[in-house]
Symmetry: C2
Subunit: 339 residues, 2 copies
């Protein structure tokens, strides 16, 4: 009997974060008697008078939204991070170590239309979203106390999204959070050792193998990374390394918008449902240093596993020990490519 | 204005894993319009003829359960890890690194009674569960290819538990998974540097402060760790360091059973609902080495946040950047202590 990825359980190494994923390909056959998710019905109304994000409506905090036509950005009325706090450091022995954290949380409405999600917007409209990300990243990076800008989107109720109006968020803060920090460490060592950007070296290797590629256009590639943990996890990365969105040309942003649209349309078609996910951009910190080691890339973590109602639970073993998946990255990539 | 843990956002360091948690105490006030969980109604029947785990029933694989009276352990019919695979290593450049992983997945029925959960079992019955864990750990550690034994429990539909019959799991395997490996690294450096066990040093520090202690008995302490990420996360640890359950006396196991029961009863009382969580034991690997640096402890990760139906979503920012919590560890500890 020869060891095979398609049949035998194995661990794969994630060189971006230094962690592992446990793959159990034979396990897709187990029966499921557990929780079923509600099917998320599409929004029908283009304007909802009760929605905090629709144009001209009043938000919880009392402010009135403008009658916006493309995207609209505002500071979150209940932001987890705020600017106006005193700074403090706390270090009491080895076990009680904390420090204050200043930041800014923003909300980006992707469209005035309450009923649309990214895959339902036009190329031009998604391009506007990407341009808004660039504008925000540039603006936030000018602030002295902001060293990292996390751009992300939670889509779908099952992903804790509390409002169906198409929107994303930006949390910008003093410290580099754990996940991008791990990547920064790997990218730095790789760059030091090989004089090459790790993300573009990885993309080149994947383009040669081609089995995990879902789609590509002029500047960007959509793929399922070799070490993907979520069933239909995907990554969008540029063919030629770019450290941050600040450095992207309009043409490159249009390519990213196209890749983002194509992937999310494929997602919606997979189980014929508005496909939930958390997605976002990992990119260079805004700490005023040059970051040749950094390669911007977008990650997508969608929870659905087998159908519109059966999701993967990252619980128990996964929380306590190690992320675990049933179907292989190659299989998922094949399914998404063929859609 | 002075910086305060109760009012201002901050980051706390987790010295066991080397990671951070983002705390946003002011955020508890935000309105919630998102997904509501189903209220999990208690099981009424003590025996369910359709249940794969009830005594004398036939499992999916065709095997018949014995008419067991206390606990009952069997090898998972759909285990993510299996013994009978060929070994293989795969290393193709810097990006495609994988190896086969042998293991054993077991299911432990906690009681023949379909309707009971840990907080509803007697002290004697929970003691039987802990003794079963010890027996299994000892037995699995005798196998050459098993180097780590993860004992855990997923409770509740919302935690992906696919069968309400009270049960836990054991996944035993060749490699040390990521989470316990991170702890092993911290415990080793601490032991080298201070000649002291990190878990007991931490417990002593917490016992002195007392504000995060929920409960204690002769041998064990229940507390909310300073760096807790989940809203009502808790830890159970022995007052005097023990590297693994193999080394525990009957008296210590009875103390652990008591702590486990008391914590889960408090949990059930918190929102007057059968409280979901993932829990489990982190302890020394079974690699035939002595592990004086290791301190066994049990961790509890419950998702509920505000009520029986509103949970904390670890999504978006949390998946991409950093775990984040709203109420402080001290507040949660106070609430659980007073129940
Ligand atoms: O084994 P179960 O209970 O069917 O499955 C549950 O626990 C496993 C171990 O934590 C997870 O991998 C699954 O995602 C979860 O649904
Ligand atoms: O800000 P929202 O959409 O209300 O909230 C959602 O996203 C946040 C950022 O990922 C999370 O912290 C919350 O748990 C989630 O419910």
């Amino acid at each position: 009997m020869k060891f095979s990825f398609e049949e035998h359980s194995h661990r794969r190494f994630n060189p971006f974060t230094g962690s592992f994923v446990q793959v159990s390909p034979h396990r897709s056959k187990r029966p499921w008697q557990g929780q079923q998710e509600r099917v998320i019905k599409s929004e029908q109304v283009t304007y909802d008078p009760e929605c905090f994000l629709c144009p001209s409506n009043t938000r919880v905090g009392g402010e009135v939204n403008p009658d916006y036509k493309n995207t609209f950005v505002f500071t979150n009325d209940f932001g987890a991070l705020t600017q106006d706090i005193p700074s403090g450091e706390y270090e009491d022995g080895d076990f009680f170590i904390a420090k204050s954290e200043r930041g800014i949380c923003k909300v980006i409405c992707f469209s005035p239309d309450h009923s649309k999600t990214i895959p339902q917007l036009s190329q031009e409209e998604v391009f506007e979203v990407v341009k808004t990300w660039q504008r925000e990243y540039l603006e936030l990076s000018k602030l002295d106390f902001i060293n990292y800008v996390q751009i992300f989107e939670n889509k779908g109720e099952v992903m804790g999204c509390s409002n169906p109006h198409p929107h994303g968020q930006i949390w910008a803060q003093e410290s580099i959070p754990d996940e991008p920090l791990k990547k920064q460490q790997s990218f730095s060592s790789y760059f030091l050792k090989n004089g090459e950007n790790m993300v573009s070296a990885y993309l080149n290797a994947e383009l040669k193998k081609s089995e995990r590629i879902i789609y590509q256009n002029e500047h960007f590639v959509v793929l399922v990374p070799f070490w993907a943990a979520w069933p239909f996890e995907a990554m969008i990365a540029p063919k030629k390394a770019i450290s941050s969105i600040a450095k992207m040309s309009d043409e490159e942003m249009a390519s990213l918008a196209d890749a983002y649209r194509v992937l999310t349309i494929k997602y919606d078609n997979l189980f014929e449902v508005s496909f939930p996910y958390s997605a976002g951009i990992h990119q260079a910190p805004t700490d005023e240093q040059d970051h040749p080691e950094w390669g911007l890339h977008m990650v997508f973590y969608p929870p659905l596993l087998r159908s519109a109602t059966v999701k993967k639970f990252m619980v128990g073993y996964e929380m306590l020990a190690n992320p675990q998946r049933d179907l292989t990255a190659e299989k998922s990539a094949g399914i998404l490519r063929d859609l």
